[in-house]
């Protein structure tokens, strides 16, 4: 890319090592970033990417190694020091206060003041001006909890810009963005670099890396495994570097053989959390042996749809049957009993009980079934047997089935959820963002498992903001916009442009 | 924090709590040289030992536990006896606390509070050689080795109420009382009301009881309630209910009219000494002469003349102290007459029938 603008080395890490109880998260990792350069950090889940940048941002103290900023050796005691040194960071998990407004979030920690008061007017003006300048559209007075994730991501970036960062770290900023939003963000990022900012960019999406990065650093198991550039590499070679073996990047699947209608919904309506109509009459059918994908920008009712279908949210409908049985008004427990598996979009919050063992999480919704309990007493041996089998089958990387699930990496947590839902051999699988934040190796695996479930005759409803995922897996695709399902396209014919337009609310 | 010092015992005859400001002493043993040194050999005839078990609460509660202990100390000094106390923290320990003394061959055991009546009776049966004095414990069928020290609280209340009825200028008389589920409190309250109305049929007397939770240990409520009634025109308030009432007394004493136009009345013992902050407004206290009664019974017991059954202690009202000048002579005269009538039993206080409403 535009190599010409790249200047001096502004950030250098030498031989950084960081150990956590039982893991070496980083071992002798070195990194150089120049002004105007975008360095992409690649690596599997748990490779140590976040740890590396957290040390640079002063959140962790390295056990060994040194960090230099603009040629000077620095020792940060907190992020405050890093901010002072001109480093900004956009975090993998949003670091925003949900009940604060956008402006309040941006200025937090560096408030314009009219002592001792916060000069709120100045704050709002300043944030609005910044947003304008960098083309990051936000409503400064909206509460962060009320705005879509894409906008929250922009707030995160504004926070860093507001602090005048000339070294900007972005940890998986695109994980929750739609394709359009991602493209916008990549452009903004390029703009930063062109104006002299040094950018460290972490992502699992190889396409993005190849589009925007100047230099690519790959980590594996906490160690540097090499540096390359987009010119010298392609998706396959990068994936190989990360995982240490070759990875299938497209889903390998045969044409579907749809059977009986399993999920049959007509005229489904439901409200969102603040009482506004979120589903405006959904008509949807999913047959056994097919994958129906729902594409759409997040916040158009996907969450409510999935919750209504799984009994978690009250809804009204003209028709709502699962395998011919009436499912309207049933509890989540009843719906599960009807043979429905559900992969919730937020695995940490909704899908898992952190302090429970892997084994218990693997039976979280089946613990009281006859197989795992007799007259109300749990059969722990049966649970253990199942867990051992699933850990093996789904390649969950865990020290043991007794390990608490909160200590696993994101990808492995996701595998636990997928394993649990597929192990019950569901008639209908509802999978919401099944590969969010998961590395390429695990994505490959999860995708193959979903296809395998389809091939065993399960009806699959796939909801994803990841267009590649929807297109790659689905036999039929529907686009969700503003509480409605717009058009139905057979998987093969669906093309990105057309779907992109539909997602944005345009005509097909 | 027992309050047992030689100096205290000497002067405690009238001033129940004078000695309370004295340094704390760890062990509740009387240090006077004349008395038995310890309780290791209470069985010996020359060693006289007196034990006291408090009701839940402390021996320095400025109330009945303390008064009973003062009386015991006075008697012990006269007898050259050894004495100590145990404080009950859980009512279920009554029996055990009593038997700690009994098994050590104490000669007389004072148990304080009507809740301990049953435990006392049971212990009396188990230890027939020990004499028991049950303070505030009404005896149904007399037991040879138990004397119940009881008081007609309604009479003390009546007298105090009568005085209030004569003294009020606003014809409004208030009260801030502990909970009415404790009979002595109710007797004081109802007697007070009857007395006030008998003296002054025009008067308005309000009875306000604290909720049972923390009834005797909420001085802030006592203060706030008293203040409220003062604001509503009451000029004499009967604050009766342990620390709750004491809070009321202290609050009333803060009033600019305290001692001239506004008065307070204490309860149980002469609160001129137990709540010195209230001296300014304290007209009198509706007294049950616990100290004297306990002392007398302990002495009788040591004399081998324990009066089994009920022993009626004196009730009455405490001296006016600082407010003497504010009480006209005719009021004082009338009051003396009433006290005589009460003593003679010619005055109907409406109680104990009053307990039933």
């Amino acid at each position: 890319m535009a190599m010409s603008k790249i200047g001096e080395v502004v950030l250098e890490a030498r031989g950084l090592t960081k150990r956590f109880p039982g893991v070496i998260a980083n071992e002798d990792v070195s990194l150089k970033v120049r002004s105007g350069e975008i360095v992409a950090l690649l690596g599997e889940n748990g490779a140590g990417k976040s740890t590396l940048v957290k040390m640079i941002y002063g959140l962790y103290t390295p056990d060994e190694g040194e960090i230099f900023v603009k040629g000077e050796r620095v020792k940060f005691h907190s992020s405050r020091d890093a901010i002072k040194a001109g480093i900004g960071m956009v975090h993998q998990h949003f670091q925003l206060v949900p009940v604060f407004t956008v402006a309040e979030n941006v200025i937090l920690g560096d408030e314009p003041r009219r002592w001792p008061f916060v000069n709120m007017k100045k704050a709002r003006d300043e944030v609005a001006r910044l947003a304008e300048q960098y083309g990051l559209q936000v409503d400064v007075d909206a509460k962060v909890q009320d705005i879509p994730v894409g906008a929250q991501q922009r707030v995160e970036i504004l926070k860093a810009l507001y602090r005048k960062a000339d070294i900007l770290i972005m940890d998986e900023p695109t994980a929750v963005l739609t394709p359009q939003e991602t493209n916008e963000l990549l452009k903004v990022m390029r703009g930063f670099a062109d104006s002299g900012v040094a950018v460290i960019f972490i992502t699992h999406k190889l396409r993005e890396v190849l589009t925007v990065a100047d230099t690519i650093e790959v980590l594996r198991g906490g160690k540097s495994v090499g540096t390359t550039t987009p010119g010298e590499s392609d998706q396959a070679s990068l994936a190989q570097m990360m995982v240490g073996r070759s990875v299938l990047l497209t889903v390998d699947r045969t044409p579907s053989k749809p059977g009986e209608v399993v999920l049959d919904v007509a005229g489904l309506t439901a409200d969102n959390n603040i009482g506004l109509e979120a589903l405006r009459g959904i008509n949807l059918q999913v047959r056994a042996g097919e994958i129906v994908g729902i594409a759409g920008v997040e916040g158009n009712g996907q969450r409510e749809l999935v919750e209504a279908l799984t009994g978690l949210r009250p809804s009204t409908s003209e028709k709502f049957t699962i395998a011919g049985l009436d499912a309207a008004g049933k509890s989540p427990h009843d719906i599960h009993e009807m043979g429905v598996g559900h992969v919730p979009e937020d695995r940490e919050k909704d899908g898992l009980v952190g302090p429970y063992s892997v084994a218990d999480n693997l039976v979280l919704n089946r613990f009281d079934e006859a197989e795992f309990a007799t007259r109300g007493v749990r059969n722990r041996a049966a649970v253990a047997t199942l867990a051992r089998g699933l850990v093996e089958q789904f390649d969950v990387r865990t020290p043991s089935i007794e390990t608490t699930v909160e200590s696993l990496s994101g990808g492995n947590k996701q595998k636990v959820v997928i394993a649990r839902e597929l192990a019950a051999d569901p008639q209908l699988l509802i999978a919401s963002q099944p590969t969010r934040g998961v590395d390429v190796g695990s994505i490959e695996f999860i995708h193959s498992q979903i296809v395998a479930a389809r091939d065993r005759g399960a009806a699959v409803l796939l909801v994803s903001a990841e267009l590649d995922e929807v297109l790659g897996l689905s036999d039929r695709v529907q686009v969700m916009y503003d509480g409605r399902l717009l058009a139905e396209l057979p998987g093969e014919e669906a093309d990105r442009d057309r779907i992109g337009r539909l997602m944005a609310g345009g005509d097909a | 924090s027992s309050s047992t010092d030689e100096t205290a015992t000497e002067t405690a005859t009238e001033t129940v709590a004078e000695e309370t400001a004295v340094e704390e002493e760890v062990v509740a043993e009387d240090a006077a040289a004349a008395v038995t040194a310890d309780d290791s050999n209470c069985a010996a005839p020359e060693n006289y030992c007196i034990g006291l078990v408090t009701d839940t609460g402390k021996v320095d509660d400025k109330s009945f536990n303390q008064a009973a202990w003062e009386g015991t100390l006075l008697a012990a000094e006269k007898l050259g006896a050894f004495t100590k106390y145990v404080e009950t923290t859980d009512p279920k320990d009554y029996a055990n606390n009593i038997s700690q003394f009994a098994t050590k061959n104490y000669d007389t055991i004072v148990t304080v509070g009507f809740l301990m009546a049953e435990a006392t009776t049971a212990a009396a049966a188990e230890f027939p050689n020990v004499n028991f004095i049950g303070v505030d414990q009404f005896q149904g069928a007399p037991i040879p080795n138990v004397a119940g020290l009881v008081f007609a609280e309604d009479k003390a209340g009546y007298a105090a109420g009568y005085l209030a009825g004569l003294m009020t200028k606003t014809n409004k008389i208030g009260t801030a009382l502990g909970t009415d589920t404790v009979p002595p409190v109710k007797l004081f309250g109802e007697g007070f009301k009857k007395g006030a109305l008998d003296a002054n049929p025009e008067a308005e007397v309000t009875l306000v009881y604290h909720e049972p939770n923390n009834a005797f240990n909420d001085p802030e409520w006592g203060a706030a309630e008293s203040r409220k009634q003062l604001d509503q025109g009451a000029d004499i308030i009967f604050a009766a209910g342990g620390n709750t009432g004491n809070g009321g007394l202290i609050e009333i004493a803060k009033d600019p009219g305290a001692g001239t136009t506004v008065f307070c009345i204490g309860v149980d013992i002469d609160q001129y000494f137990t709540v010195p902050q209230a001296q300014k407004c304290l007209l009198t206290s509706a007294e049950k002469k616990l100290v004297a009664g306990t002392e007398e019974l302990v002495l009788l017991s040591a004399d081998g003349a324990l009066p089994s059954g009920n022993f009626f202690g004196q009730t009455g009202i405490a001296p006016f102290h600082d407010t003497e000048a504010a009480v006209p002579a005719d009021v004082q005269a009338k009051l003396a007459e009433i006290l005589e009538g009460l003593q003679a039993g010619t005055i109907d206080t409406g109680c104990p029938a009053c307990l039933d409403n």
Binding site: L312 | D90, F114
Partner: protein, 371 residues
């Protein structure tokens, strides 16, 4: 075993080194509380010494009278019984993410309920005891359920409602004992004595109630670890969102947990009435519910650990009277010792000192306002 052992993971004692395996790895969970108790006693001893009394003598008096004589043992057992049960009541709530401050009110409800069932009916012993006990539990459960239902359906914090319900319960039982249930012809507010057929007998020298309380604690240890219902409690307590997604009815679980918690406190009250006091008398049950909070926290919400914790509290409270009798030290010293024990068990200081490790993970027992 495979299934999460809650005492090991979320609610165990501070474990100085989670990586360390084998029998030594579990050692600290026993060593730590014992060390904590000892240090608390040492500090308490200082207090005693400052009052001019030999602390060794003081403790010897305390323990020899509490544990060294048959009557002392009996009293310790009697005192520990309601404490085990209120400790369990608070524990069960904590496990389901509820902070039940209302064990006191629930215990009172159970105590007066059992008293009424005990005196107002005549029936054979084989029925009367279970009936009175069950009725007491029901009263406790019903009283707690008010808080449970309000929490489940109206999102009212159970912390507030149980505080308020305590005050209401105290006033209510006071009314009942002084008016409708009052024993006639005597001045004290109390119910008549329960029928002989309702009185809990002793197992030789051991009170039936004590045995019962221990069995109940063991049962709840098993219940929370091994049963499906216990699993529901734990799941709702640890992550109510995930519980909902997994098909557990959170509302139902909350109400059930609160009712069970109340029933346990109610049982504590019932045993007090049927086994110790023989009637209901308002003053006789003071403070038991609040000690339950201390015990649950000392036991780190582990039902089985509630047994030794309650016995410790019971022993100290029981020995306090002898302490004062023999040495003049005031019984409040027990509160100081308890507070210090709790401090040393919960704070990482003792562990750090004992195991010379900096990274002691302190564990959380409670979950904020249960939301």
């Amino acid at each position: 075993m495979s299934v999460t052992d809650p005492s090991k993971t979320d609610l165990g004692f501070s474990d100085p080194d989670p990586q360390r395996g084998g029998p030594l790895g579990r050692l600290p969970s026993i060593v730590l509380p014992i060390a904590s108790v000892l240090i608390a006693f040492a500090v308490g001893g200082l207090l005693i010494w400052l009052q001019g009394v030999n602390p060794f003598y003081a403790y010897w008096v305390m323990f020899s009278t509490a544990l060294g004589t048959p009557e002392g043992l009996l009293r310790v057992m009697e005192k520990s019984t309601p404490l085990i049960l209120t400790g369990l009541a608070v524990t069960v709530g904590l496990r389901a993410g509820l902070f039940n401050i209302g064990a006191q009110g629930q215990l009172l409800a159970g105590a007066i309920g059992a008293a009424w069932a005990g005196y107002a009916f005549t029936m054979p012993l084989a029925f009367h005891i279970p009936f009175a006990m069950a009725f007491g539990m029901l009263c406790g459960a019903a009283w707690a359920s008010i808080a449970g239902v309000l929490r489940a359906y109206r999102s009212v914090s159970e912390v507030i409602t149980t505080i308020m319900l305590n005050s209401i319960a105290i006033a209510l039982v006071d009314y009942l004992a002084s008016k409708p249930f009052k024993e006639p012809d005597q001045p004290i507010s109390r119910t008549p004595e329960i029928a002989e057929t309702a009185a809990l007998p002793n197992f030789g020298a051991i009170p039936t109630g004590f045995v019962l309380a221990i069995l109940v604690a063991l049962f709840f240890g098993w219940f929370l670890m091994r049963t499906t219902s216990g699993f529901r409690f734990n799941t709702v307590g640890l992550n109510s969102n995930a519980a909902r997604y997994a098909g557990i009815s959170v509302k139902r679980t909350i109400i059930l947990a609160m009712a069970v918690s109340g029933a346990l406190a109610g049982l504590g009250g019932a045993i007090e009435t049927l086994g110790v006091t023989g009637r209901f008398e308002p003053a006789f049950n003071a403070g038991l519910g609040f000690d339950g909070i201390t015990i649950a926290l000392l036991a780190r919400a582990n039902p089985i650990a509630a047994i030794p914790a309650a016995i410790l509290v019971g022993t100290l409270r029981s020995g306090a009277a002898a302490l004062q009798f023999e040495t003049g030290i005031e019984p409040e010293v027990v509160d100081v010792i308890l507070a210090l024990t709790l401090l040393f068990v919960a704070a990482p200081i003792v562990g750090r000192f004992l195991f010379r490790k900096r990274n002691i993970k302190t564990t959380r027992v409670t979950s904020g306002w249960g939301s």
